[in-house]
């Protein structure tokens, strides 16, 4: 928008022309078609986020009886945020959130691309295998959580413990979903990993999450691989390029737009990650989203809950700006 002074007469007519054009003819239709989505964006996303920010500046609590509630919020300014930043538990949950996201993404890209390359090779029954591999992605998250809860069950009848006990690989069942530190016998390593947010439970959760989400990554990358003409590889072979070099110089650059899509989709889901963690751990592994939910709906402290959820939103916005800039690199 140009910053011309409003007194400039040519600007005023220009402005009037613009409004006229906006309300007449095809632009009327354009705006009418755009309107519902804009209203949803404003009403269900922007206003709630701003309202969350307002609540986070107060000692907000609400009393709900039969679906109607009264709100009380005493203005405390940035007090909620200051208290969070001074709380070491908050920073631990922040690091665990980042750990969960980064490790999941790395595993997904490495293993997902690996499976995609594998499924792109020629072997007997390839079509059937491609369909089967896709199935876990369709399993609802709660069902996936319950399933992995049964597999990681801490009693000896948990499926994983059952297998390990049966083959005498362990002598007592392991409570997989306990947030124990890893490598407890090497103190410095154990402390470093705990600080980074890694523990037994969070890694178990990542495994359970990957079972459901690896398929979509692998299948999308596979779709990208199939668009690469085989002549490229033949030419590379003639030039004597090794398998790794072909992968590095042909495969990766050509599937990279798809990888961006995958990153966006998965970040979307990972920062939202709530269902799996809540179902399996309740409040035992308080990643930021769990923490926000607990503060608001268990402790009734909507001010603190909103402050945490606003911080998650901020984190999500920063990450999405980085991705989306990558996506629209030429246009913005």
């Amino acid at each position: 928008m140009s910053m011309m002074p409003a007194t400039d007469p040519s600007f005023r007519t220009q402005q009037r022309h613009r409004i006229f054009r906006a309300l007449s003819g095809e632009y009327f239709w354009f705006y009418l078609l755009l309107l519902p989505s804009i209203l949803i964006l404003i009403g269900v996303v922007i206003i709630p986020i701003l309202f969350a920010f307002r609540m986070s500046l107060g000692n907000t609590s609400i009393v709900v009886i039969g679906g109607k509630g009264s709100i009380s919020d005493t203005w405390v300014g940035l007090q909620n945020y200051i208290q969070l930043f001074q709380n070491s538990l908050f920073w631990q949950s922040f690091r665990e959130t980042i750990y969960y996201w980064v490790v999941s993404i790395i595993v997904e890209l490495v293993v997902g691309i690996g499976i995609a390359v594998l499924l792109n090779k020629e072997f007997f029954g390839r079509r059937v295998v491609r369909v089967i591999v896709f199935i876990p992605w369709a399993i609802p998250t709660v069902v996936n959580a319950m399933l992995w809860g049964m597999i990681f069950d801490g009693d000896n009848y948990g499926a994983l413990n059952d297998l390990l006990l049966r083959f005498h690989l362990i002598s007592t069942p392991i409570v997989w979903l306990n947030p124990n530190p890893l490598f407890a016998h090497i103190p410095w390593l154990s402390n470093a990993l705990s600080w980074l947010g890694s523990n037994q439970a969070i890694n178990a959760l990542i495994v359970g999450d990957e079972w459901k989400t690896l398929p979509i990554v692998a299948i999308l990358v596979l779709a990208g691989l199939q668009t690469i003409p085989s002549e490229y590889y033949e030419a590379a072979k003639v030039e004597g390029a090794s398998g790794w070099k072909q992968f590095r110089n042909i495969t990766l650059p050509l599937v990279s737009p798809i990888l961006t899509v995958v990153l966006i989709l998965r970040t979307m889901q990972l920062l939202r990650a709530f269902t799996l963690i809540f179902t399996l751990e309740q409040f035992g592994l308080p990643l930021m989203s769990i923490n926000a939910y607990q503060q608001a709906f268990q402790f009734g402290s909507f001010g603190t809950g909103s402050a945490i959820s606003f911080l998650i939103a901020l984190l999500a916005i920063i990450i999405s700006i980085v991705y989306i800039k990558r996506l629209y690199r030429e246009e913005l």
């Binding site: 989505s37 949803i40 922007i46 609802p140 998250t141 319950m146 909507f302």
Partner: protein, 298 residues
């Protein structure tokens, strides 16, 4: 001559080993995919005692169909089948309506953002997409407070309408982003030709452009449906006594505080997984092509 024969021989052996390695890897991937599924299925066909004995039976023993049967029989207020069928109905209504709303509004907006010369339309698209990157919790807390306090007059609390409104905002950005990619691939000339023939913009949109974007509509529609079908946190916030609970919440609530009836949970889980699994089996390739051709430009 000897030397080259040797090389060929070596190559043959290495190709053979490669084949074996390839099949081993494929087997590994299949095992990783199918073992948990197999475990879920046999658990759903066991009596309770078969889920808590060590070692676990590898076949559905002692066998029973009962875990499935109770989801449909003995229908009385508050019974398992009552809650299951109620949840099923809510899931179908909320997911179906969300899908329709999203497709209508989302593709309309995507069309405008692709065609109109509006300043900052990339920014608007970006904002829609970014709105879908926001964590659910960050939206649920303020939205819940708004519905029970300032907006309580609207009577949205604990209704399917509330679920539909909130779910719509969860995938609208994705729909707009993918559909805009589809509209961008349709040449302007096509639309202008229709309009020279006297069709208005809306008629041209509905008659000519929309059919061309049908794969995109199918893909985004199915994605929206799957996302909505999966939603859990909003019914959770509304609480166990709510009436707008869906299948994921029903399955979660099967998990008793003292008793984990794994066989019942597994049966309910499989029943609720059937619609999305069928979608992926039959329409999976449309979803994939929608995500890859719509989302990826050029």
């Amino acid at each position: 001559m000897r030397g080259s024969e040797n090389v060929i021989q070596k190559n043959k052996i290495s190709i053979k080993w490669r084949k074996i390695g390839l099949y081993l890897l494929v087997l590994l991937v299949l095992l990783w995919t199918l073992a948990p599924l197999y475990f879920l299925i046999i658990t759903s066909l066991k009596k309770y005692v078969g889920t808590i004995t060590f070692p676990l039976p590898w076949l559905p023993k002692p066998f029973t169909w009962n875990n499935y049967a109770i989801m449909f029989s003995q229908y009385t207020q508050g019974s398992i089948s009552y809650r299951f069928l109620h949840a099923l109905r809510n899931s179908i209504i909320a997911s179906g309506a969300t899908t329709i709303v999203n497709l209508v509004f989302g593709s309309a907006a995507a069309y405008v953002l692709s065609r109109a010369k509006i300043r900052g339309k990339n920014i608007i698209t970006m904002m829609f997409l970014a709105s879908n990157l926001l964590p659910t919790v960050a939206l649920i807390i303020p939205f819940y407070v708004l519905t029970v306090t300032y907006l309580s007059g609207l009577g949205l609390y604990d209704t399917n309408t509330l679920l539909i409104i909130v779910y719509t905002s969860f995938s609208l950005g994705l729909v707009i982003w993918i559909m805009r990619g589809y509209f961008d691939t349709i040449p302007l000339d096509l639309e202008e030709a229709a309009r020279v023939d006297g069709a208005s913009r809306i008629v041209a949109l509905v008659r000519i452009i929309l059919p061309l974007t049908a794969p995109g509509l199918l893909a985004t529609g199915l994605l929206t449906f799957l996302t909505s079908w999966d939603n859990f946190i909003l019914p959770l916030v509304l609480g166990p006594d709510s009436s707008a609970y869906n299948l994921p919440f029903f399955i979660y609530s099967l998990n008793g505080q003292y008793l984990h009836l794994n066989n019942q949970i597994a049966a309910g889980g499989i029943l609720s997984a059937i619609p999305p699994v069928l979608i992926v089996l039959f329409f999976g390739k449309y979803i994939v092509s929608g995500l890859t051709s719509g989302g990826v430009k050029g």
